[in-house]
Amino acid sequence: MGQSAEFDAIVVGAGPAGATAAYHLAKRGFNVLLVERGRGAGSKQVFGGRIYAEPLREVFDDLDKAPIHRWVRRERFTILDGDRELTLDFRAGASTSFTAYLTQFTQWIAQKAVDAGAVLADEVRVDGLWLDGGRVRGIVAGPDRVAARVVIVAEGVNRLLLERAGFVHRASPRELALGVKEVIKLDKKTIEERFGLEEGEGLAWVLLGEVTDFIPGGAFVYTNRDTLSVGLVVHLGGAYQLLRDQVHVLAERLRTHPRLSRFFEGGDIMEYSAHMTIEDSVGYMPEHFAYDGMVIVGDAAGLLLNTGLTIRGVDYAAYSGYLAAKGVERALSEGDASAEALRRHYEVPLRESFIYRDLMRHRGASYAMKNPRMFREYPRVALDTLEEIYTLGRETPLPHEALARALSRNRVGFAEFALRMLKVVMSL
């Protein structure tokens, strides 16, 4: 057995959740160890995404110094089917989110943690939680055990430690989605020209339909400073194995799609990565966010909201890390790291926060989004309706006639359609 050292807190995983928790605890004078299996913090994050800023302003008072690529003003939503395309293009009055490389963003947080005095031990995989009669006493890594007053589990969506120690059930494929992302290099000017952006302005684009092979899920394009993040997220459902083998084909199809390839033309692919993400957050959540000697933050706690149009994981992760740090501070200052104390100081504030409330509110919508008809029949109804309205011969149909014909062509009942649409609209 190797030597052991005492820490106030050990954080497992230097993603946005863990790095933030480590930063806020170190800043408050605690002796913190941040353990990451990758080379450097953030090295295992999937490159490129859009991050919502508002919650982070409370977490980082110097957010404007973060490695931000572009502030997103343009939101685009597209349904593709063959050579038909329906696009909604929205330019917001103000920007509340930015694009960034998650790797850089996480490194930025981790550097703050190190500057505040946290010890970052990278290239070390934690193999298990050190359990002592149900209480978490520390971590096990290879032959070494290290003890801490509190362990903060920030291991992300692939939560082997929590599973192995019996704190959570094994995730069912229904609760997960698979994301793939490519980073395509283009110069700054070209990006702004092709996407019709002002200088420094960002675009977030969601695409449905043919691009995901009508499998439930969506594709996305984000503009970074001089690259594009292009990818898709497909719900795993029962088709896990099939998708795992197919998903790179989908990514390729997205990039070479005749209606889209002109946006990517001439760009070099710099990165390709695939990563799991949470689909059914509430189903995936652990029963509690705190146990004796341990709190759970970020993706590992199931804190991710994918509405189909927007995805929020990074801001939730960082914010939960921040709440955890504040909760752990209170618990430790009372000298009590029991489940009860940690729940009082972390779990309760988390459940009262916008994160948990929104996850619960969106639960129903998430079921609506899971209906496969959302991704094949309904988009086609929209396209067929527009086709009826715009592609005129002699007759000019009334709008409801156009819709009725589109519905019957796609074998969708009117009542069903109206109800679904209502549900989705309400959820937005």
Binding site: A121, E123, V124, A141, G142, V146
Partner: protein, 279 residues
């Protein structure tokens, strides 16, 4: 006194991730993380195995910019006792002669170890000059392609090492102190341990040497001390593969292959025999 070992490591851009810009003919290093030269981990592992058997101390030394501390941290994570960073602006732009000169003078200053290990070659230059040059600056015996240290006898001042050659092994008895280059990919470098990482952060077993410490003549180091001139760098264009697959038995496959190669003009028929065409 116990056994003293030192390992030279180089901090290199991870060339597996480096791509070539065919337009400008330069390496695209943007965003490419550096790593410890992989062959040097063989050397570190070889030294740590000697330490496992005989005890003693293993230090690493690198001439590099300060960012190489991350590399020193990595090998200390593996169990190396301490690291020495040799760094100074005047050392920049060195070729292998100037690099080996600075390294050998730094090693002399630190005190000659019993065993001085190196990797076989680097992934970013692959000259394999450094170990031999250091050995000659220090006037020490040099054995390379070593995959095993069989015996170290400090009292009698010798070591027996095994050299891994293409078709055979060779055992060499060498006088101490000696310079040893580990055979490429001959070891499985041990994983980083959390307790060793914690030791690194707690004890900071790190020493920095600049030219203030070494006092070397500026004309013999860095760019000025480097007689090598890189006249030109070019690259091997990738040949697009035709990806033809033949299915059938070996005899037929051989005939098919010969026919194809002849069609491509790679094989030519001369005096009733097939011959590879000389370009």
């Amino acid at each position: 006194m116990s056994l003293e070992m030192m390992v030279g490591i180089k901090w290199v851009p991870n060339t597996q991730n480096v791509r070539f810009d065919p337009k400008t003919g330069t390496l695209i290093r943007e965003g490419v993380p550096s790593i410890v030269n992989p062959a040097d981990l063989d050397a570190v592992e070889l030294a740590l195995k000697v330490k496992d058997t005989y005890g003693g101390r293993v230090r690493v030394i690198t001439m590099a910019p300060p960012s190489a501390v991350k590399g020193i941290e990595h090998v200390i994570g593996m169990g190396v006792d301490a690291g020495v960073l040799v760094t100074d602006r005047v050392f920049a732009g060195a070729d292998t002669l100037a690099t080996s000169y600075v390294l050998s003078q730094a090693i002399k200053k630190l005190g000659l170890p019993d065993l001085l290990f190196f990797g076989q070659e680097t992934i970013d230059s692959s000259t394999a000059h450094i170990p031999a040059q250091v050995a000659s600056w220090l006037d020490l015996p040099y054995v390379y392609y070593v995959d095993r240290v069989e015996e170290v006898n400090r009292e009698e001042g010798y070591a027996v090492v095994r050299r891994k050659l293409e078709d055979r092994y060779e055992w060499v008895r060498v006088e101490l102190p000696a310079v040893i280059a580990a055979a490429l990919k001959s070891q499985v470098p041990r994983p980083v341990r959390l307790s060793e990482k914690l030791r690194f952060h707690r004890d900071k077993p790190l020493q920095t040497l600049t030219n203030k410490d070494l006092g070397l003549d500026p004309r013999c180091v860095g760019l000025r001390g480097s007689p090598t001139i890189v006249a030109k760098v070019t690259w091997m264009p990738e040949v697009p593969r035709k990806r033809q697959v033949f299915k059938g038995d070996a005899r037929e496959a051989a005939r098919w292959l010969v026919k194809k190669l002849a069609e491509e003009g790679i094989l030519v028929r001369e005096d009733g025999r097939w011959r590879v065409r000389v370009a």
